[in-house]
Subunit: 309 residues, 2 copies
């Protein structure tokens, strides 16, 4: 059991982490940081205590250290564009009050990789030289992760203690991370019902472009197309399960997804030539009435999809 | 309660109709016709009696007429490409043994419209001139419909008695249909838990291109793209809810969907210029890093999607 868990960002994802940790009793106390949602998250019972900023929360941490035996940990669930600025702040705090482990759950990792290159150059905790069992430096306890779970709704009202049940959680440590910290972060997610799965951090963003970001772009594109059709209003009531599911994630927060898509735009745009070639093949088969070619394209797609486990 | 319901095609859709009718006791007997699945549908308990062909079933109908008071009805759930040939056969049978109503549930209606133009020229049932209360002609009792329900699996094993619960069912009569028959077909679907919704038949295929066929094409395209990526195998285990849902319908029967897409290819291909324009706007905003334009595109798509009821 963690002594104190600090959850930074208490929207859908962070709120769900907090709810899952509290419902399973996996931390003695759960503190939340959110400039917009901290009060609401507290009122919803997701967190024990809320702060409007990371600086506020860390000031109280300094004044009221967590019990040393159980320690403190951090889950960063803030928008990707804000994460890079938080890492040096947490690293500085770590010099006086070492974290047991720190993870972030951003949908892209490039900014995190870059931020950690400068953080890694910071000196280790002051205690390191003075004690026989020195605290690990920040880069050793920091382990990025990414639960493959979410919802098209957002904000703390949408949080769910069950969000991570059976969800794959990508664990993407940098080379500087210690095996101990990696193991603790994996155990943390497993404790919330997730299935940890290692992925080298440099492979994260290209993989996510394929399996999440590009599919989001298409879903938004499809919804944008249909919203401009004469059928737009009829579709909102007459949709079947296919349209419901293919467009579900297009209801996701436009603000969050603008950031995610921009952060990973190189990999996403890199898929366009291959995408255009596939669509060209499909429309060509349709236009020429080439049933054999069309059925073969559909079947190869279907075979792959039926392999989902 | 219908005396005898003839379900032609006992795969996912027809099998589910049969199962729903039997579980709700809405017909005294349910007969199934399917060259491939009739035996299996019978073994699964979906139908009371199975026939390999429509001709076989109609021969037994002639020999063993249903009780006149309750009458016979037909649900055509065969592949779209086979429907047109069945309508004249049912119309001919109707002259001797009138159906109470006949519906078909194809995903496209153009071939049905065309087939009915020749059927409508056939003479009315022989009884018409001889009785004071003449039976309506086939064109009066025939009412196309389209339940907006389905599944990516197919065959009678995938049939479900609950498939139509809360599903919209498009009711698309031709001008020749009688109000009585329209009402009976609507009542039939309502009895299976569906929500009937009228749609002029000439509007059916363009609407379905928007809300079902084009989304299927994109889902198949996305699955085809990802199946050819280096991440193809990883994606099959590491997918989140977004990829799961955007690609779910790409596991649908390639054979059935090749037919549906080809039947409606004009309307589907007609969407491509508008689709390409939307994708051009999105990728342009991404490529130039225009966050405001990107967020606005995403937000308008999200607003429409959040309007689903």
């Amino acid at each position: 059991v963690i002594g104190r868990l600090l959850v930074v960002g208490t929207g859908l994802m962070g709120g769900s982490v907090a709810a899952a940790v509290r419902s399973r009793g996996q931390a003695q106390e759960v503190w939340g940081v959110d400039p917009h949602h901290a009060l609401e998250a507290h009122e919803l019972g997701l967190i024990d205590r809320g702060f409007p900023s990371l600086a506020d929360a860390l000031a109280v941490c300094r004044a009221q250290p967590a019990a040393k035996a159980s320690g403190s940990a951090v889950v960063l669930a803030a928008p990707v564009s804000l994460l890079a600025a938080m890492l040096p702040v947490l690293a500085t705090h770590h010099r006086d009050q070492p974290w047991a482990w720190v993870t972030e759950i951003g949908s892209t990792k490039q900014a995190v990789i870059e931020a950690m290159q400068s953080v890694a150059r910071q000196p280790p905790p002051v205690k390191r030289a003075l004690t026989p069992d020195p605290a690990p430096c920040f880069a050793e306890v920091f382990v990025p992760s990414h639960p493959m779970a979410g919802a098209e709704r957002h904000g703390p009202q949408a949080a769910s203690a069950d969000l991570f049940e059976q969800a794959r959680v990508l664990i993407s440590p940098l080379e500087s991370a210690s095996q101990a910290a990696i193991g603790q972060v994996e155990a943390f997610w497993a404790g919330l019902g997730g299935i940890p799965s290692r992925l080298a951090i440099q492979d994260h963003d290209p993989l996510l472009a394929d399996i999440s970001h590009f599919p989001h772009l298409l879903a938004y594109g499809l919804a944008a197309l249909l919203s401009a059709r004469p059928s737009a209003a009829a579709a909102q009531t007459l949709y079947g399960g296919g349209l419901r599911d293919t467009t579900r994630i297009a209801a996701s927060s436009a603000d969050l997804w603008a950031d995610i898509l921009l952060q990973n735009r190189q990999a996403i745009l890199g898929l366009m030539p291959q995408w255009n070639a596939v669509m060209q093949q499909l429309t060509q088969a349709l236009a020429t009435g080439d049933r054999a070619a069309l059925a073969q394209l559909l079947e190869s797609a279907a075979t792959w999809r039926r392999g989902f486990r």
